[in-house]
């Protein structure tokens, strides 16, 4: 007997490669979207800080915009700098 696979359609879940599961600001899973979006993934990306903390981009931007003087990471209170990985 010879079995030839002509085509194989698999199902996969996509995941962010991050050191945490949830966004520290909105408490939603990274694979979900921030409260303002309706689609996750490309439409609601993650950003990494130098301090190694990860957030939804929309969430951290909102947070940084609300800070008057200093731009701090809401988790570790270090100055927030985007890490362009």
């Amino acid at each position: 007997m010879k079995v030839t696979v002509k085509s194989w359609t698999g199902v996969a879940l996509w995941k962010w490669i991050a050191n945490d599961d949830n966004c520290g600001i909105c408490r939603m899973a990274f694979e979900a979207c921030c409260p303002d979006c309706s689609f996750a993934g490309d439409d609601c990306p993650l950003v990494w800080g130098h301090c190694s903390h990860v957030f939804h981009m929309h969430c951290i931007c909102k947070w940084l915009n609300s800070q008057l003087n200093q731009q701090l990471c809401p988790m570790c209170r270090q100055t927030w700098r985007f890490n362009d990985r």
Binding site: T4, V5, S7, T9, G10, V11, A12, L13, W14, F39
Partner: protein, 780 residues
């Protein structure tokens, strides 16, 4: 003296207890008068005569009359013959009574003459005495004869009427029959004419004696009631697509009332306008009969209501009729009772499929809507249906959702397509309501607790009514999501336009929020196609390509928005695994910071099997493909051996091998030993039948029920903590504690029952011990 007595006897035979007729002249009376006056006994004699009349009435006339009514003719086998006999008996006895009545009346006239001659006033109200004596001896069963009498005459009358109305053609047809329709005698000896004459005669006698109403009234009402019922059954039963009420009323007004008029009006149908008394009693009868007609007709409709529901909307005219009847009569309670009963006996039992029950439910909603706008009856009537679906049919939600999105048009999918129109209608109606506030009518008294079921609620459309069975939209949306996921993952012929249209329609119903994840799911599908084509062209993927590689593609889904996938795992064939790894790498490169987790059991595989010079082209699921691929290199496998290699529990594996057994490619040679059937040509094509091959539809998604338990898993850590600290706790206690401390979390809304089944599962998994009504941690 003796001479006077003899002469007196001739004048008043009653004093010798006889009612013989005699020739009497005025001279005879005058001479008797003189004789009695000269003897001075006029008063005594006249009183004696009155007493004798009373006596004769009581002991002779009346008992003789009633005796006839006791004649028992039941022995007569033929019903018609019996009725004819009874007709004649009644006729004779009434005629006799009338004769005696006349004789007595004549005697009384003579007596009156004597009195008036002497100048005293004659006070003897014979009519009243006659009536009271007669009625005081009324036997119980006297109505039987009367009924037969009027029944025959009614038949004759109806028949003559029908003949008058019929065309010539019909006349010919009638002639061909052997028996006359009216008197049911052979046509040659038709007695209709005689019967009509006799009938008129008897009625006249009864009227003259003032007995017509007393003797016939009750029976007449009964008879006509029966006739109305018979007529309705004959003309209307089972015919729902025309309105009958007008014709029935016409029938009553013309035929029945004309017959009645003839009875009361000495045989003539023309009513003298000056005869107020008869007119009054006729119109009284008419009112009573009309009421009866409505009642009988409405009840006939109600008795067949289930059929009407099934035939709706063709049965609309019948509903319209019932509506008219219900305006006049209070039949709500009756309707509710009958309909509830027939729904229960014909719809709500084991033998009916859930989808049929739902169809029936929808038809009931439509029918009752038509009958009554306010929807109160509907609500009362459908309560048992809802309860039955809720309690006894687990697959209700699935059936409803399936029929909502079905390809072939069904009631529900049509209803869904009308969503937009309904929304607009509702708005319009709301505005109308404010403009026409004068037309507001209060709810009928039998409305259920009115504050809970506001009018708005009751008027909601069919889909809302269906959803209302469970009282929650979420459940329906969840089920829809599961079904959608199932279809997206397993069906090849996925039609995105149609799914999107369905989704949009459902959104109108259930709101954007609840259906958001479904939208994401559909978007995942279209995104996957794009990513696929990108990756397949990408250099990372193509560089390692070998010519024998199967075409690979992936459905990349957003885990948060899809229903939970089964946790089950499986080891894929190596070449496929490698392909997937390459695919994953390309994806990581393409998307950056994102990776893929394959769910090996989901998807579909197109394989070609070459065996014994035959080629089979099949589309199977990954598990089936993996199994058959393992048999390619090794022709014989032990169940546990294969189970370890594929990393699949033996029971599941056996079930999946079943698929190939049915295909005739693998057989179970010994217990738990499976062999590929390709050496022996005879066996190859044979389908294995002796083994108990179990094959069931595989479901990719976790069912809503299991998902619930998964949600409860969140609380497992709380429960563990509680039991560690407090050692043992009862179910109620755990439920309460969770409510108190853990209720901030999302989705904390579960009943004690749900918690119980969750804890019982933990007991089965040996994580808890249940004894004496309390749960404890299993410390062993």
């Amino acid at each position: 003296m003796d001479g006077t007595w003899e002469r007196l006897k001739v004048l008043f035979p009653v004093i010798s207890s006889s009612l013989a007729e005699s020739e009497v002249t005025k001279e005879n009376i005058d001479s008797i008068y003189l004789e009695l006056v000269s003897l001075g006994v006029l008063e005594e004699v006249s009183q004696l005569i009155c007493i004798e009349i009373d006596k004769t009435l009581q002991t002779q006339v009346v008992p003789e009359f009633w005796k006839i009514f006791d004649t028992n003719l039941d022995a007569q086998s033929d019903n018609q013959a019996r009725e004819r006999c009874e007709f004649q008996l009644f006729r004779t006895t009434v005629l006799q009574l009338y004769k005696k009545f006349q004789i007595i009346n004549r005697m009384l006239e003579r007596l009156k003459y004597l009195y008036e001659k002497s100048g005293t006033k004659f006070i003897y109200n014979f009519d009243e005495i006659f009536k009271s004596v007669l009625l005081s001896q009324l036997p119980n069963n006297f109505t039987k004869l009367v009924y037969s009498f009027y029944h025959i005459s009614f038949n004759v009358f109806i028949n003559t009427k029908a003949e008058e109305d019929d065309d010539d053609d019909d006349m010919d047809q009638l002639r061909e029959r052997d028996d006359c329709d009216g008197c049911e005698m052979p046509t040659a000896r038709c007695q209709c004419q005689e019967l009509v004459t006799a009938f008129g005669e008897i009625n006249l006698c009864l009227t003259r004696m003032g007995l017509l109403d007393r003797i016939s009234g009750y029976t007449l009402t009964n008879l006509i009631q029966d006739e109305i019922y018979g007529h309705i059954q004959k003309t209307c039963r089972g015919i729902f697509d025309t309105q009958h009420l007008k014709n029935l009323e016409k029938w009553l007004d013309t035929i029945v009332l004309e017959w009645l008029t003839r009875i009361f009006n000495n045989g003539s149908a023309k009513l003298d306008p000056s005869n107020l008394k008869i007119r009054e009693s006729i119109s009284y009868f008419q009112k009573k009969l009309k009421y009866l007609l409505y009642e009988k007709y409405a009840k006939t409709i109600i008795d067949q209501f289930f059929n009407i529901i099934i035939e709706f909307p063709d049965s609309q005219p019948a509903i319209d009729d019932l509506k008219l009847c219900m305006e006049k009569l209070d039949l709500r309670a009756h309707l509710v009772e009958v309909l509830k009963n027939s729904l229960e006996t014909r719809l709500l039992h084991q033998g009916v499929e859930t989808s049929d029950i739902i169809t029936g439910y929808v038809a009931t909603i439509k029918t009752m809507r038509h009958l009554e706008k306010s929807g109160i009856l509907l609500q009362t009537v459908t309560e048992p249906v809802k309860e039955y679906l809720r309690k006894c049919r687990q697959d209700t939600v699935r059936c409803v959702v399936t029929s909502l999105i079905e390809e072939t048009p069904s009631d529900l999918s049509e209803e869904l397509a009308r969503s937009e129109a309904i929304k607009a209608e509702e708005n319009e109606r709301n505005q109308d309501e404010m403009n026409n506030w004068q037309d507001w009518t209060p709810d009928p008294v039998d409305a259920l607790d009115s504050d809970k079921n506001s009018a708005q609620n009751r008027r909601s459309d069919i889909i809302s009514m269906i959803v209302d069975i469970y009282g929650s939209k979420e459940l329906f949306v969840n089920e829809y999501r599961n079904l959608l996921a199932d279809r997206l993952l397993t069906q090849l012929d996925f039609n995105p336009e149609k799914e999107i249209r369905n989704l949009e329609l459902l959104k109108l119903r259930f709101g954007e929020n609840l259906l958001h994840s479904c939208e994401v799911m559909l978007k995942d599908i279209s995104d996957s196609k794009r990513i696929n084509s990108h990756i397949l062209e990408c250099s990372t993927f193509t560089s390692e390509e070998t010519p024998n590689d199967p075409a690979v593609s992936a459905l990349i889904v957003s885990s948060q928005f899809w229903p939970m996938f089964k946790k089950e795992s499986m080891e894929l064939p190596e070449e496929i695994n490698k392909l997937f790894e390459r695919y994953k790498k390309s994806y990581e490169e393409y998307k950056g910071n994102r990776t893929l987790c394959w769910t090996p059991l989901n998807g579909k595989v197109n394989i070609e099997i070459e065996i014994n010079d035959k080629k089979l082209d099949m589309t199977v699921n990954p598990a089936q493909a993996t199994i058959i691929m393992h048999f390619q290199n090794q022709k014989e496998w032990q169940l546990d051996q294969l189970s370890t290699v594929i990393n699949m529990p033996p029971s599941t594996l056996r079930r999946r091998i079943g698929f190939w057994q049915l295909q005739g490619l693998i057989r179970e040679a010994k217990e738990n030993t499976f062999i590929l059937c390709d050496e022996n040509h005879d066996q190859a094509g044979e389908i294995e039948t002796e083994t108990n091959v179990v094959l069931d539809e595989e479901e990719t998604m976790v069912s809503a029920n299991d998902q619930r338990e998964e949600e409860l898993q969140v609380f497992w850590s709380y429960i563990l903590g509680m039991l560690t600290n407090l050692d043992s706790m009862s179910l109620e206690r755990i439920h309460q504690m969770l409510k108190m401390f853990a209720s901030q979390g999302p989705g904390f809304e579960f009943s004690q029952e749900e918690l119980k089944s969750f804890l019982q599962r933990k007991v089965r998994e040996h994580k808890l011990v249940y004894s004496y009504g309390v749960y404890q941690l299993n410390k062993n």
